[in-house]
Amino acid sequence: MRIGALKTSYAADHALFDTPVQRAWLGLGAALLLAFPFVADDYWLYLACLVAIHVIATTGLNILTGFTGLVSLGHAAFMGVGAYTAALMEIRLGAPFLLNLLGGGLMAAGVGVLVGLPSLRVKGLYLAIATIAASFILHFVFQNWSTVTGGIAGLSVPPARILGIELARPAALYWVILPLAGLSVLAAANLFRTRIGRAFIAIRDRDISAEILGIPLLRYKLMSFGLSAFYAGLAGGLFAYFFRSITPESFPLVYSIFFLAAVIVGGMGTILGGILGAAFMTMVPEVLKLGVGLASPWLPNAVAILSPVRTVVFGLLIIGFLIFEPHGLAEIWRRIRRFFHLWPFRT
């Protein structure tokens, strides 16, 4: 049982991880992630990288949807903008890997701000519908601006290089993707310790009174859109280097729904939720694949129904969590922690 933590300065009270126990857990987690590539095989490293990419994108969507209260169904399309930008910078300009990632993020942020512009006039659901429109228009651009995007065939991306070292396999990319995911999450956590993060939450909870308290709504909504799209663009850049090939079909509307599901399942408006949701939602198809593998001796068309089953499960997760646990896995996790804090005195 934990009794409490004594803090002797405001700085200590503002720390992200405020108890020695938390810091110990954090250290342990970091050590495990460092050791992981040395024990895991390619499949698990592939999954780890994919989870990390999804963590970045989900955290970005969480900033917009979970913290600012604006639903976006264009997140995958923003990711596509980042992916195409990074790929083109690599192919056409031969620019360095990390710069391309930054470029992808910035380009996506610019497009995100543009898509957010209708929030000048409309709010809430209307905006969500505008993001669907943006998603389809971007898909159209990817598909039809063939001289640049390669049309339906898309682009194939050379392997990432840092200091002359080629990062082609998940085992190598792991050392870039994971730290970037860590930094992205840390930056988001930082954001919500400051006035900007507070302004986002205020807009979500009561936008009109936020305005009267001195928060310019349009500027902050656009900032949230831009930042969220930056995260998507960064994830998209990594996606391009990770899969080495991108097509318009890499970023369908369903992928946006995937991220929305990850935010809801993980926990809207919590940093931890973005991590848990991305990991959970990435693992779901893998578990389903496993299930299909087990069922295939008895169910001849099991492989064929894998994709629709996945679609159904995504939808059910969205509905189920919204109805039964709207605060998501993060809340379940919090309850478990609380149980151990009070144990053995209250169960």
Binding site: G69, V71, L73, L117, P118, L120, R121, V122, G124, L125, Y126, A128, I129, A130, I132, A133, A134, F136, I137, F140, Q143, N144, I208, S209, I212, V254, I257, L260, A261, I264, A304, I305, S307, P308, V309, R310, T311, V312, V313, F314, G315, L316, L317, I318, I319, L322, I323, P326
Partner: protein, 295 residues
């Protein structure tokens, strides 16, 4: 314009009006739900798709004639709407509109997946029940399916409008739309009205689905038609029946013209550009009521 052919233009326009009527019918289903329950139902296209597949199941699977399969499919659509309301919308009563909106996104995903599991993801054709002999309006050729679709959609819409005016349940529906609390205190069973609104919307969506399927075939992705319907109601105003009708024709024409004169892939771009323009210029649509905000 070189080689502008007024007859061809007229034919394209007629085709646009034909699909516009189907859009209007789908928009009506959407507005029905929104007016009564204030739910923005993103799954309207998927409800439409399920309606089309139900007809397919009764007509092709069980081999029923059209006059048997159509009422069964409509009833199935109505049941689906009612079931959705009871199972996943009612538990969300009082939650934020955003949360309920996201529930309907999940619903759309579930419906697509289920249809793919049951009927496979491949597109297919509905058994023909309209015939193929072309219809001529003056000199202009109109595909029979589109003409019949237009006529039936107009009849169904007219039926709905008449019901709202005269039938007791229709009046209860309008009362609930105007003021839930007041309707409740007048002894109107508001939850039942909610359920009825979803059921009726399910019927309307199924009707639209059968017609859309008859014209263009069915596939699990035909729910995309619902996105065009979403544009329709944004253009017309989320809570306006008249808006859905006008919006439907506008979007139908726009899609026909852009699809023919610019190329098929421009259809969706034109539609969604219209959506964005309306959102910026006239956010509550042509006929929608602007929300008055209070502190």
């Amino acid at each position: 314009m070189e080689g502008f052919d007024p007859l061809f233009f007229a034919e394209v326009t007629l085709a646009g009006l034909g699909s516009g009527a189907l859009l209007a019918l789908t928009g009506l289903a959407f507005v029905l739900i929104y007016k009564a329950t204030r739910v923005v139902n993103l799954a309207i296209g998927e409800m439409l798709m399920v309606g089309a597949y139900l007809f397919f199941a009764f007509a092709a699977g069980l081999g029923l004639p059209a006059w048997g399969a159509i009422p069964l499919a409509l009833a199935g659509g109505g049941l689906l709407g009612a079931a959705i309301e009871r199972a996943i919308i009612r538990p969300m009563l009082g939650e934020s509109p955003i949360a309920i909106f996201m529930v309907t996104i999940g619903l759309g995903s579930v419906l697509v997946g289920l249809v793919e599991i049951v009927w496979s993801p491949n597109p297919t054709q509905l058994p023909d029940f309209i015939g193929a002999a072309p219809v001529f309006l003056g000199e202009a050729y109109v595909s029979r399916k589109i003409a019949v679709g237009f006529a039936v959609a107009c009849l169904v819409i007219a039926g709905f409008l008449l019901a709202f005016r005269t039938w007791r349940g229709g009046v209860a529906l309008r009362a609930t739309a105007a003021d839930q609390a007041a309707a409740y205190s007048c002894g109107i069973d508001v939850p039942a009205v909610f359920c009825a609104a979803w059921a009726l919307a399910g019927v309307a969506a199924a009707a639209a689905g059968i017609l859309v399927g008859a014209v263009g075939g069915i596939s699990p992705t035909m729910g995309v038609f619902g996105l065009s319907a979403l544009v329709v109601v944004i253009v017309g105003g989320l809570d306006s029946v008249a808006g859905a009708l006008v919006g439907g024709l506008v979007v139908g024409l726009l899609e026909a013209w852009s699809g023919t004169f610019l190329g098929g892939e421009y259809k969706i771009v034109a539609t969604f550009s219209l959506l964005l323009a309306v959102l910026v210029v006239r956010p509550y649509g042509l006929f929608g009521t602007a929300e008055i905000e209070r502190l």
